[in-house]
């Protein structure tokens, strides 16, 4: 096909340049789109498949080394010649570029292209995958330019390349082995979804994770700093950790303690629950006979803390679980008419409804300085949703299907979200860490 871009076909040097540029643009754009689509597919699937892709890369390497025989999905089509006669030059040359750039419409002599597909899905990031795949289109474009730059006959250039088939195969083997190693190490270091064992109501800050644990009908809170032994707080539930401080609910109300020393720092008595701590701020739910109130208490002066009502709803509705951080407060409110998740900027009082629905259940938000995650429940799926505050797009970063395995409360730090997956049948709860 490369001989298409000669003055004999294009008519002049100028038209030839137009054709080559159009071809390159078409090839790069098409391959980038394919990569982005594969990355988006990986994102939708929600589970990264790096281990599978690494295995496939090893198989492909063995194939290219001649150790095993494996058929490849192939399309032996060629670019339609009649386009040159029927279409304007920029259109047919860009079309040729797109046809070759997508890759799967034409013959693939080695399996590396398909491994790139698997890797793009494993990556699960449309932009990054698109950028990587654009290199494939650029490579296609180089084949249209390279012979001309060397002043060689295009057909001779292709034949020269074909004569180095053995070296190219060996280069592919090396590339595939390297790809497998990278994918495998990525899986080991940063697996997308990792089970953290039993637990619910996670709270995380920097290197400290806290969770509630149910055992024989009693609840305790486990504080788990990295590289230090865990600290267990008995008869406690619904933890929220902030550095060395831990807020939790017990039978008398909410306590804020230093979990290293056990010293009680603050206490709120009464029918209060679901604390969220960002010291000296403490958000919680207070329930009276008619309403549930979301309260934000300020313990700047611990002797006489101030309280501010943030939201309320009838007692039969659901309010909470609040999340405090980065100068924001997030909470959900669910009635039998709708559910919504709201974030308030504490400095300005400005409120933003992150999501609202009259159909599905949006609940249990957790926020960091830049992002918010929450659980979205539909009849047959339960999804962990994520959005950056400076963008409108929402991503599903983890999904369960079926009506018996559901998602519950969440926590968020950096690019790691924690979510509780539980069984409706057994009520067993497992804490998952989802890297995104």
């Amino acid at each position: 096909m490369v001989e298409t871009f000669t003055p004999a076909v294009c008519g002049s040097r100028r038209r030839q340049r137009i054709a080559v540029v159009s071809f390159a643009l078409g090839a790069v754009a098409a391959s980038a789109l394919v990569g982005a689509a594969l990355g988006a597919l990986g994102q939708i699937i929600g589970l990264r498949v790096a281990a599978v892709a690494a295995g496939l890369a090893l198989l492909a390497a063995a194939r290219e080394a001649g150790l095993i025989r494996l058929p490849l999905p192939q399309s032996r089509r060629q670019v339609p010649e009649r386009w040159r006669a029927e279409l304007p030059l920029p259109v047919w040359s860009a079309g040729y570029g797109a046809g070759l750039g997508v890759g799967f419409l034409t013959f693939q002599p080695v399996s590396t292209f398909w491994i790139a597909w698997a890797a793009a899905v494993a990556l699960g990031r449309p932009l990054a995958a698109g950028a990587c795949f654009a290199a494939y289109g650029a490579g296609r474009a180089v084949m249209a330019v390279w012979p001309r730059r060397r002043g060689a006959d295009p057909t001779a250039a292709v034949e020269e390349l074909a004569s180095r088939h053995g070296a190219l195969l060996r280069a592919n083997v090396a590339a595939l082995v390297a790809c497998a190693a990278l994918l495998a190490s990525a899986q080991a270091v940063d697996a997308a979804v990792v089970s953290m064992g039993p637990g619910l109501d996670p709270s995380v800050q920097a290197t400290v994770l806290a969770r509630a644990q149910m055992s024989s009908g009693t609840t305790s809170v486990s504080v788990e700093p990295t590289a230090e032994p865990a600290v267990l707080v008995p008869d406690a539930a619904s933890p929220s950790v902030d550095g060395d401080l831990l807020a939790y609910a017990d039978s008398g109300g909410i306590q804020v303690i230093n979990w290293r020393t056990g010293e009680v720092v603050a206490r709120v008595d009464g029918a209060v629950s679901r604390p969220a701590l960002d010291w000296p701020l403490l958000a919680f739910i207070r329930t009276d006979s008619t309403y549930k109130h979301l309260i934000l208490a300020d313990f700047t002066n611990p002797g006489s803390p101030s309280e501010r009502g943030i939201a309320r709803t009838l007692v039969q509705n659901d309010l909470g679980r609040p999340s405090l951080g980065g100068g924001r407060l997030a909470w959900h409110k669910t009635t039998n008419q709708a559910s919504r998740i709201t974030v308030e900027m504490l400095s300005t009082g400005r409120r933003v409804v992150i999501v609202r629905s009259r159909i599905v259940l949006e609940e249990n938000p957790a926020l960091s300085a830049r992002r918010i995650v929450w659980v979205e429940q539909r009849p047959r799926t339960s999804a962990l949703r994520m959005r950056r505050f400076d963008r409108r797009r929402v991503h599903s970063i983890y999904t369960t299907s079926g009506s018996s395995r559901l998602l519950w409360t969440t926590a968020l730090v950096g690019r790691r979200a924690y979510v509780v997956r539980w069984s409706l049948a057994t009520r067993a709860a497992t804490l998952l860490r989802v890297s995104f």
Binding site: L200, D318, N336, Q337, A338, I359, V360, L361, Q377, S403
Partner: protein
Amino acid sequence: MPRPDELVDRAARALSTRLAAGMTRRSFLGRMGGAVLAVTGGAAVAAAVRPETSEAFHFCGHIWTTGSCPNPLGLPRIDRKGFPLRAADGKPIDNLGRLVNAHGFPINGSGKPLLGPDGQPLPRAPRTRLCEEWVRERYGHDAKQQGSWYRCCSGQIRKLVDCCSPSRKRINGDASLTGYCWNGNRVFCVMYYDSGLPC
């Protein structure tokens, strides 16, 4: 230049769409025999007049092709006010498909509250009308229940309800019919209500 068979196919599709869009269910059926249009080759025609190959028999009493309204469990069974019911036994369900009590709290098969992993009863989820709320949120249409008709199903009178909207497309993605809708509305999707009255 399109081939002659493509021209015929395109013309048939356009004709059937115009006919389907401009006539009521009965007039369309009355004036247009399925065979006539199907012979001309339009795929849309075949979809419109051969209910046995479409979603038309997805529930008893519904012999037309318009699809079910969105619903939690697969069949658009509703109560008198349009809220979702479990198709198998007519018990109320919330938007997540869970059985609920009179106050909207999720319950198990024996009527006890469903408990969460913390041992507390699960909170209520939204329970909203399939036509007015579900269609509006999912498809952005200002939909409402309008016309209805009746059939005998499983020994009781079933009311089949048109969920009508101004949209010229129905839930299936093709042209919508006037059906039993009025005020310029057309059938977007269908639901049913089992009356309990023997027939």
